[in-house]
C-alpha cells in the first residue's frame, strides 16, 4: 500500500506537465459512476456508493509518514542555470526582461512604501519580499482576461498586468484618485480593467468565490479561467475547504495558487498543519496538484501555464503550491524578529532569492550586467518616488462619498444620515480635518 500511494502522489504531480500538450474535449466526463462497481458485484468488490476501491483483509492505517513528501518542481538551480533543457519555457528576451523589471520594480516600491509607513506617511503596508517570483511567474502564464482573486501579497500580479505606480500609491494614500475611493486599508488593490477582483482583509473568503466565478466562466464559455491566490495559513480556514470541494464537484476551471512562505504572521507551518503542506490535500479533493519552487520564476510559469491548460481543456480545478519564504515582516504592524532568527531570514534573502536567481539567469544570457542593474535601480527609484509624492499631495475624497455605494442607489435613510453628517460638520468645522478632503457641496 505504501509504495502504491507514494507512486500515485508522484504521478499526480507530473501528470500536470504532460497535460500541457494534450487536447481533451471541452466537456470531458471524469465522473466516477456507480455502475462499474456494480458490474463487479460478483467478484466481491465493494459497491458502497461513497467510494471506489477494493476489499482488503489487512487492517492497515494509511499514515502520512508512509511516503515521501510531494516533490518540488524546479526548472532553474540557484545559479540561474536551467537544469533540464526540455523544461526551459524558452521565453523570449523581452519577456524575461519584463519579468526581471517587474520583480525589481515591485521590490523598489516595497522599500519606499515600507519606509513611508515607518515615517507615518501611510497607515499600513505589506511587502512582497521573497515572493516576487510567484507573482510574476504565474501572472506571465495567464491570459490577461483571466480573473484574479488575491489575498493581499500578490501586488506583482497587478504590476505584470499594467497597474500603474500612481494607482498603487493612490490606493495606499486613499486619495481622491483611488478607484476604491479611500475606503479600504492600504494594499487592498483592485482593478476592473485588469480583471483583478478587489482585495478584502478577511482571509480565504475569496477562495470559494473564485470557484463560483469559474463556474460562471465555464457556463459563459469565454475561454478564460480564474486564479485564486492564498497563503498557507489561509488554507486552514473553512472557506478553503469549501472552495476546493465546490471547485472539484462542480468542475470549475480555477487555479488555486498557494503561497507557502512558512509563516502566518508568527505562526510557523508546524503549528498550521501536520500533513505534507497544502499540496497533499489536493488529491483528497480530486484535484490535479503540483508543488513548485516559488523562488524559480520559470518553474512557477511552467506550472501555471500547464494548470491553465488543465482548467480549460478538462474543465476542472488545479492546485499549485509554491514553496517560498516570507523574507519581510508580515506587515508594518509586525516585528518578525520576535519569533524567528535573523540567520534564517538572511539565508533566504542572500542565498535563495527569486530576483537573484533570475538575475543570474539573465546575466548568463547576456541580457544584463552591473551597469544596467545600477541604472535600472536609479530609474525605478525615481519613478516610484515621483508617483509617491504625487499621491501624497492629493486630497482625499469628499466626505459625502462615504455614503455612496453601500447600495446601487443611496436609500432614503442613508441620504438622511448624509445630510445629518453635513449639517453637523458645518456646525463643528474646526474639529474636523476638512482641509485634507475635497470640498463637500454647500459647505
Amino acid at each position: 500500500m505504501t509504495s502504491y500511494f507514494g507512486r500515485k502522489c508522484l504521478q499526480n504531480c507530473f501528470r500536470l506537465l504532460k497535460y500541457q500538450n494534450v487536447k481533451v474535449p471541452l466537456q470531458s466526463s471524469r465522473h466516477i459512476s456507480v455502475s462499474p462497481a456494480l458490474n463487479h458485484f460478483e467478484e466481491d468488490r465493494p459497491v458502497f456508493p461513497g467510494s471506489r476501491s477494493t476489499y482488503t483483509p489487512a487492517l492497515e492505517f494509511l499514515r502520512s509518514d508512509m511516503y515521501d513528501g510531494i516533490p518540488v518542481y524546479r526548472v532553474m538551480n540557484k545559479k540561474g542555470e536551467v537544469i533540464q533543457k526540455d523544461q526551459d519555457p524558452q521565453l523570449d528576451d523581452d519577456t524575461v526582461l519584463k519579468m526581471y523589471h517587474d520583480m525589481t520594480l515591485l521590490n523598489t516600491m516595497d522599500r519606499v512604501l515600507y519606509d513611508s509607513q515607518r515615517q507615518g506617511r501611510i497607515s499600513f503596508y505589506m511587502t512582497n519580499y521573497g515572493e516576487e517570483g510567484t507573482h510574476i511567474g504565474s501572472a506571465a502564464a495567464l491570459d490577461p482576461g483571466d480573473l484574479v482573486f488575491a489575498q493581499y501579497r500578490e501586488a506583482g500580479v497587478l504590476l505584470w498586468r499594467g497597474f500603474q505606480l500612481d494607482e498603487f500609491m493612490n490606493q495606499c494614500y486613499g486619495n481622491n484618485e483611488d478607484v476604491g475611493r479611500g475606503r479600504q486599508m492600504p494594499v487592498h488593490y483592485g482593478s476592473k480593467n485588469l480583471n483583478f477582483v478587489t482585495i478584502s482583509s478577511t482571509l480565504a473568503t475569496q477562495m470559494p468565490q473564485a470557484s463560483g466565478a469559474a463556474y460562471a466562466y465555464k457556463r459563459a464559455q469565454n475561454g478564460k479561467c480564474v486564479i485564486c491566490y492564498f497563503g498557507e495559513g489561509a488554507a486552514s480556514e473553512g472557506d478553503a475547504h469549501a472552495a476546493f470541494n465546490f471547485a472539484s464537484t462542480l468542475d470549475c476551471p480555477v487555479i488555486f495558487f498557494c503561497r507557502n512562505n512558512g509563516y502566518a504572521i508568527s505562526t510557523p507551518t508546524r503549528d498550521q498543519y501536520r500533513g505534507d503542506g497544502i499540496a497533499s490535500r489536493g488529491p483528497g479533493y480530486g484535484m490535479a496538484t503540483v508543488r513548485v519552487d516559488g523562488n524559480d520564476v520559470f518553474a512557477v510559469y511552467n506550472a501555471t501555464k500547464a494548470a491553465r491548460n488543465v482548467c480549460l481543456n478538462e474543465m476542472r480545478p488545479v492546485l499549485i503550491e509554491a514553496m517560498t519564504y516570507r523574507i519581510g515582516h508580515h506587515s508594518t504592524s509586525d516585528d518578525s524578529s520576535a519569533y524567528r532568527s535573523v540567520d534564517e531570514v538572511n539565508y533566504w534573502d542572500k542565498e535563495d532569492h527569486p530576483i537573484a536567481r533570475l538575475r543570474a539567469h539573465i546575466v548568463s544570457r547576456g541580457l544584463w550586467n552591473d551597469d544596467k542593474e545600477k541604472s535600472w535601480k536609479r530609474i525605478t527609484r525615481k519613478r516610484v518616488l515621483e508617483a509617491f509624492s504625487k499621491a501624497e499631495a492629493r486630497k482625499k475624497c469628499n466626505p459625502e462619498s462615504m455614503f455612496d455605494d453601500v447600495y446601487d442607489v443611496v436609500p432614503d435613510h442613508i441620504q438622511k444620515q448624509r445630510m445629518e453628517m453635513k449639517m453637523h460638520v458645518n456646525q463643528y468645522k474646526e474639529h474636523y480635518p476638512l482641509k485634507l478632503f475635497d470640498k463637500m457641496s454647500g459647505l
Binding site: 476604491g180 478577511t202 470559494p208 473553512g238 455605494d405 453601500v406 447600495y407
Partner: protein
C-alpha cells in the same frame, strides 16, 4: 405562459402522489400546528391571468420566470436538484438543465461564497440555504463579503445578482434549529436587503424583485406557509417593490406591525379588537426589513397614536426594537401610549413549548388591550 401552467399542473400531480412519501416527512407545515388563520390575498387585476398556488409553488414559479428570462441565472444549494426538501425547485432542473439547477456540497459558507463568485462576473445567482437556522456558517460571507462588495471596491465590482433564499420561522415542531427568524441579525448589516413575504402572491412578486435588484438580497420564506397558504397567483411576471410596506387592514385606533406569518396573526387580532373592544387597527405588513419603509409606519402611528410590533424572533435586539425606537423619535408628540413589543421570549426555540413561546393572537390581543387602557 402555457408551459408554466403545465409545469404547475405537473407539480401538483406530483405532490399528490408524493404527499405520503418519506421525502415529505419531517417538513410538515400542517394546519394543525398553525396558530393563525390564513386569509388569501387577491392580486390586482392588472397582473393578469391567475392560477391557484401555495407559497412553495409561487416560489418555484418566480424562479422559473427568472431562469426563462435570464440565461445567466442559476439555482443551487443542498438538495435543490431533485426539487428541494420543500419542493420549491421541483421540475426546474428538468426544464433548464443540470448546469443551471444543481446540488452543491453540504457547506453553507461555500454556497453563499459560490453565489458571490458567480455574481461577481455579472451573472445571476439564486442560492438556497436549507433552513435559515443554518445560515450562520455563511455569516462571514454575507456580512463581510456580500454586503460590503460594492462599497469596498468603489463600485468597481458588485454582486447585485445574488439572492439567498431560505425557509424561516416557526413550523409547529421545529425546535431550536428548524424555527429561527434571524432577520434582525442581518438588519444590522448595511449593504444587504432583507425581505419576508406573507403569502404566495407576495412571495412571487417580492422574490422576482429580489432577483432583479442590483443588491444582495436575503429572502426569508415562512416555511409554515409553504403548503398552508393557497391563493390565486398571477401566472405572468410581476414585481412587488422592495422597501415598501403595505397596509392590509385599515383602522384608526392602533397600528399593528408585523411580517411573514405574524401578519396573519395580527390580521386576526384586528378582527378580535374590532369585535370585542370596538377598536379599529391599521395592520401593516412591513415586507422589507432592510431598508425598511419608515414612512408608512410613521404615517400610520401619527394617525392612530398607538403602536404594537410583533415578531416571532426573541425580543431583545429584535427588529421590533428598531421600529419602536424610530416610532418614538418620529411620532413622540402623537403617541398616546408606549410602543408595545409582543415577541418571542429571550430563550432558544423550544420543541414542546412552542405554543407558549410564540407571540400568538392572545398575547397580541392582550397587547392591544394594554395600549388602549394605558
Amino acid at each position: 405562459m402555457t408551459s408554466r401552467m403545465l409545469l404547475h399542473k405537473c407539480v401538483r400531480t406530483l405532490l399528490k402522489a408524493k404527499s405520503q412519501s418519506k421525502l415529505m416527512k419531517g417538513y410538515l407545515p400542517i394546519s394543525k400546528y398553525a396558530t393563525f388563520t390564513y386569509v388569501p390575498d387577491t392580486a390586482p387585476r392588472e397582473y393578469g391571468e391567475t392560477m391557484k398556488m401555495n407559497l412553495f409553488q409561487s416560489v418555484t414559479n418566480a424562479m422559473e420566470i427568472a431562469l426563462e428570462s435570464d440565461p445567466t441565472a442559476v439555482i443551487f444549494g443542498e438538495d435543490v436538484a431533485f426539487g428541494g426538501v420543500f419542493r420549491c425547485t421541483v421540475g426546474l432542473k428538468d426544464k433548464f438543465g443540470k448546469d443551471r439547477v444543481f446540488n452543491t456540497p453540504l457547506s453553507e459558507q461555500g454556497i453563499v461564497a459560490f453565489g458571490i463568485g458567480i455574481a461577481t462576473t455579472g451573472a445571476t445567482a439564486i442560492a438556497e440555504i436549507q433552513f435559515a437556522d443554518y445560515i450562520f456558517p455563511a455569516f462571514d460571507q454575507i456580512v463581510n463579503e456580500a454586503a460590503k462588495f460594492r462599497y469596498r471596491t468603489g463600485n468597481l465590482f458588485n454582486i447585485g445578482g445574488l439572492t439567498i433564499r431560505t425557509p424561516s420561522g416557526a413550523v409547529g415542531h421545529g425546535a431550536l434549529y428548524h424555527s429561527q427568524s434571524p432577520e434582525a441579525l442581518f438588519a444590522h448589516v448595511p449593504g444587504l436587503k432583507v425581505v419576508i413575504p406573507r403569502g404566495p402572491i407576495q412571495a412571487k412578486g417580492l422574490l422576482l424583485s429580489c432577483i432583479k435588484d442590483r443588491n444582495p438580497c436575503i429572502f426569508f420564506e415562512p416555511k409554515i406557509l409553504y403548503r398552508s397558504s393557497v391563493e390565486e397567483v398571477p401566472v405572468g411576471s410581476f414585481e412587488i417593490p422592495l422597501s415598501k410596506a403595505e397596509v392590509i387592514v385599515e383602522g384608526s385606533d392602533v397600528t399593528l406591525i408585523g411580517w411573514g406569518t405574524q401578519v396573519h396573526v395580527l390580521r386576526e387580532v384586528a378582527t378580535m379588537a374590532e369585535d370585542r373592544l370596538n377598536v379599529g387597527c391599521d395592520v401593516i405588513d412591513l415586507r422589507t426589513i432592510l431598508p425598511w419603509d419608515t414612512e408608512t409606519v410613521i404615517n400610520s402611528v401619527r394617525k392612530t397614536g398607538r403602536a404594537l410590533v410583533a415578531h416571532e424572533a426573541p425580543i431583545t435586539g429584535g427588529f421590533g426594537a428598531e421600529i419602536a425606537s424610530t416610532i418614538q423619535s418620529e411620532c413622540f408628540l402623537h403617541l398616546e401610549a408606549p410602543v408595545k413589543r409582543v415577541c418571542g421570549y429571550d430563550t432558544p426555540f423550544s420543541h414542546t413549548h412552542e405554543p407558549f413561546y410564540l407571540p400568538d393572537k392572545w398575547r397580541c390581543f392582550e397587547g392591544v388591550k394594554q395600549l388602549i387602557n394605558f
